[in-house]
Every structure is written in C-alpha cells, then in structure tokens.
Amino acid sequence: MSAAANTLTVAAARDALRKRALSAVDLTMACLTAMDAGDSLNAFAHKTPELALAQARAADARLAAGAAPDLCGIPLGIKDLFCTRGVASQAASNILRGFRPEYESTVTSQLFAAGAVMLGKLNMDEFAMGSSNETSCYGNAVNPWRRAGDDAALTPGGSSGGSASAVAADLCLAATGTDTGGSIRQPAAFAGIVGIKPTYGRVSRWGIIAFASSLDQAGPMTKTVRDAALLLGTMAGHDPKDSTSADLPVPDFEAALTGDIRCKTIGIPREYRMDGMPAEIEALWASGTAMLKDAGARIVDISLPHTKYALPAYYVIAPAEASSNLARYDGVRYGHRAKLAQGDGITEMYEKTRAEGFGKEVQRRVMIGTYVLSAGFYDAYYNRARKVRALIKRDFDLAFAAGVDAILTPATPSSAFGLGEMADADPVEMYLNDVFTVTVNLAGLPGIAVPVGLDAKGLPLGLQLIGRPWQEADLLNHAYVLERAAGFVAKAPKWW
C-alpha cells in the first residue's frame, strides 16, 4: 500500500483486506500508531490496543477463510456512551469513573460480530449534553482543523466530538456516534466528515447510556457516504432488547448508492433561512441546491412553520427525559460514591454523590428537567412541549405527503468555533448550535451531514439532508450525489 493504511476509507480498506493486499493486523497497527501520535487531539479517552490486535488477528483468520463481512478487520473508534464489556464506559462523566460494563451494547455486539476492530473509546460531552465537547470529564477534544494562519484550538463540535476529531484526523477508519439533538451531524460538519442519524428505532439503543430516550439514536461517522452506508447496515436492525427498535428489514444501503436522483423532489424549507445567518452558509446552501438540481432533481420551496419552536420544545423534553434517566446515578450500583461524613444518611449520600459526579451542564439539565416535570408545571411545560413536538412532526409529514423526497438545509449556523470562546455565553447561546438539526430528532427522521466546502477561514462547512422515515437508503443516495458533486477532498493540515 502506498498511502498510509489509516488514511483509507472503510470501502477501500475492505477491498484491500479481501484481496489480501493488506492485513487487518497491519491496518490496525497503522491506526494504533496514528492514535498514539494524535494524543494532542484528546480524541481517545480509553485506548484498547491489546483488544484491537486480538480482534485484528481473528479478522485475518476470517478473511483468509474467505467470505468475510464488509467490516471484517476495519478499525473503529467507539463513542464512550456505548457500553463495551470489560472496557471503561463512562459517558465522559466522573459519576461513572471506574465503571466497566459486564455486557456489550447491541451496536458494538453487531459490529464485533461482523469482525470490526475497536481501537478505544472516544471523547464526548458528558452524557452527550453539549455542542462543543467542553463538558467532558476528560477535557476538550480538539478539532484537527484550524483557521488559516491561526493555531488557536477549535472545537470538533459535540457531543460526538472525539468521534469527529478521530475520523477527520485518520486515527481510525470510522467511528460510532449518537445523536439526540444534532450530536452526530454538528460535529461531522465541523470536522469535514459524514455523519448520519438514522430514523428513530432503526438502531437499537440497548447498552447505550441513555440521555433522552425518545430522541437518542446511534449512527456512524465516516469519511465518505459509502462508508456511512456500510457501517449503518451493520449497526441497524431489530433488537428484542429495545422495545422501540423497529422490526423492519435492513436494506443493502451500499447497493442503494446509484448516484441517480432524477425525478426526485428536494424541499428547501424557508424557515431555515435564519436572521443573521452568515452569507457563506447561505451561499453554500444555494450551491448545494444547484448541485442537486444539476443532478436532475426537482427543487421546491417548502414551509415547516413550527421550526422556530423546535429548540425550546427540545430543551423541555430532553432535560425532562434526562432527569428521569440520570436518576439511576445514585452511588449505589455503579460508579462514584461520595465520601460521607459521620452521621450522613442515604439522602446525603445521593446529594453529595450527584453533586460531585455530575458536571455543571448535566446538573443544570437535570434540574431543569426536574422542574418541568414537577407538580404544577407538568402541563405548562412538558405537555405543551410534547404538543408542539407533534406539530413539528406534522410539518414534515405534510411536506412528505406533498411529494418531497428529501429536504436540504445547512447543517450548522457557523463553522467550528474556538474552544473556550463560548465560556461566558449564556447556556441558551450554546443551544443555538442545534437549530438546524434538532427538528429531525423531534420528528424521528433520518438526517445526514455531508461536507460541501470550506469557508473563508479555511474551515469545513456541511449541508444536511433530511429523509422520509425508514428511507435511509434513498437519503444516503441523495447524500452520495451531493458528495460527488461537491467533491470535498480537503484534509486538515497535520500539526498534531
């Protein structure tokens, strides 16, 4: 192999592995070397080199025997939110320090059964609550991209910031992420990679540390749309252990990448043209629209009138669910327990443990959630937010019923910002990062971020395509067309 093996796409590595032009052990070694050399990115929180090499040797044996699955021997990074047996899984929280699950999440089980190799666990915002990876107990993950002529450290986005950083910097071939309000798509856009959040219920949530159960979905973060199709095919599928996982067949997503979207209808939602939107984002959106039109799609203006209310609805529903899901961290069954003073009872144990174990943002969201669910406020906040959520979903239902196949929007309101730049900002300002992505979670739809260009500072910008429920195959094909037309091949200049 001429290029360093860690820079390969999943699809290229698969082909090389099957031809035996490359061994899984050599590929894994190349990634382990890149991972160690990338410590200044702080993308990996826990490294598992012994496990990776054992898995790679097993993959080589399977490849030698022939007929190995697509992901056999492919080195991946796994977000710290996934429980992995015997390997630290702490959702970037001090409250789960030392936790080593006795079980394996369904997603990682399926990846490992297909022969994938785990290099380690990836940095993220604590309990996936954040848009900049700055709430992590491991410290910030760093974006490999920098502004031209400026070496200030930028955020890789969040919450799947470590995943975005590791994939963009070629520390791994691909990574898993999770997305509750934009946590796959926003970091993917900030790092110039592809990230897809599937339809709610497409991928099992079992063994993924819960944030907001009605919104959480796992998905792949990859260098290309084809790689996203390959990973999603392995991650998806019905799981009896997750009662919200859909009992639907998983199509061959890679086979769906025909590059033909003639006669498809693309909706451009006017409500996504926000006041104060940077001209570069507006221009990128227009050029993405032109690319799909040139490919033969029909472009229509659509209206999603309740878009404006998505963020406030999200910031009622997600904290409400989080306050309930995070009640389990009480210092009894796993993780951290505070040191108690003489005479402290069980209530003091709970209160001290949670004050020490949860970071500021997590505490804030748990308390907001507690408040909106408390007696007297449940109807005013939580029930109203769920009604608005129904209206947001109806907006999309109407657009799809009118014949729209996919919706094109910006992925983020800006390119990557500097770490620490938002330190003095109001929490609500940070929440605005999710303005284009959060509607998709509320409506349970599939959404994908595709890198399309660079801004004047030399940073990647992405667009988002939103698909019909369960039509990830069609959505990936639209993304594939956009990817080919945009021809985004830029890589962050290596400084780490």
Binding site: T244, Y309, Y350, R386, A443
Partner: protein, 95 residues
C-alpha cells in the same frame, strides 16, 4: 416565569443534587434564563393537539412473561461502590 432562590433550592432537593447556599442565586438566574427561552412555546396554538407519546406510530412488542435472564449476581454487584454478602450496601436507611 422566573425562578426564585427558594424554588432553586427545592428543585435541587428534588433532583438530589447538593447545591451550596452561596451558589443558589446564580443557579436561580440560570434556570430562569432557560425557562424564559422555553416560554416561546406559549405563542403556539396547541388547541386540539395530542401530546406526542411516540414518534413513530408503533405498538410496543410484547413477549411471554417468563424469566429470560438471571443467576448473575456476581456480574450485577461487580461495579458496586460497596457490596457485601451478595447485597448492595448503603448507609443506614431506617433508624
């Protein structure tokens, strides 16, 4: 709706998170800011709209009510901060 210090104290208590008295005014202000942001929801006409319970209309799967797992006491206690004689151990609950 603005959250006063007394309400912030009560919410922290309900959430079982210890907050120092000195930090309550800041907490109250932060929570108030977030709630003000949520108040935009009051502009929406939700007459006759049912609150969403499930994003995809689906009936949850059912299975036979039988034991499917068990006999893994060791695995369950493995991560406990304090486990003794096959139990999770906690400070005294009843005087």
């Amino acid at each position: 709706m603005s959250i006063d210090i007394e309400t912030a104290r009560r919410v922290a208590k309900l959430a079982r998170i210890r907050v120092d008295e000195a930090d309550l005014p800041d907490l109250a202000a932060e929570l108030s800011g977030i709630l003000r942001f949520m108040e935009q929801l009051n502009e929406v006409d939700v007459t006759g709209v049912e609150p969403m319970t499930s994003v995809t209309p689906m009936r949850l799967k059912r299975r036979a009510d039988v034991v499917t797992d068990g006999n893994i006491q060791g695995a369950i206690l493995k991560n406990a901060p304090d486990a003794r004689e096959g139990f999770f151990a906690v400070p005294k609950v009843v005087e």
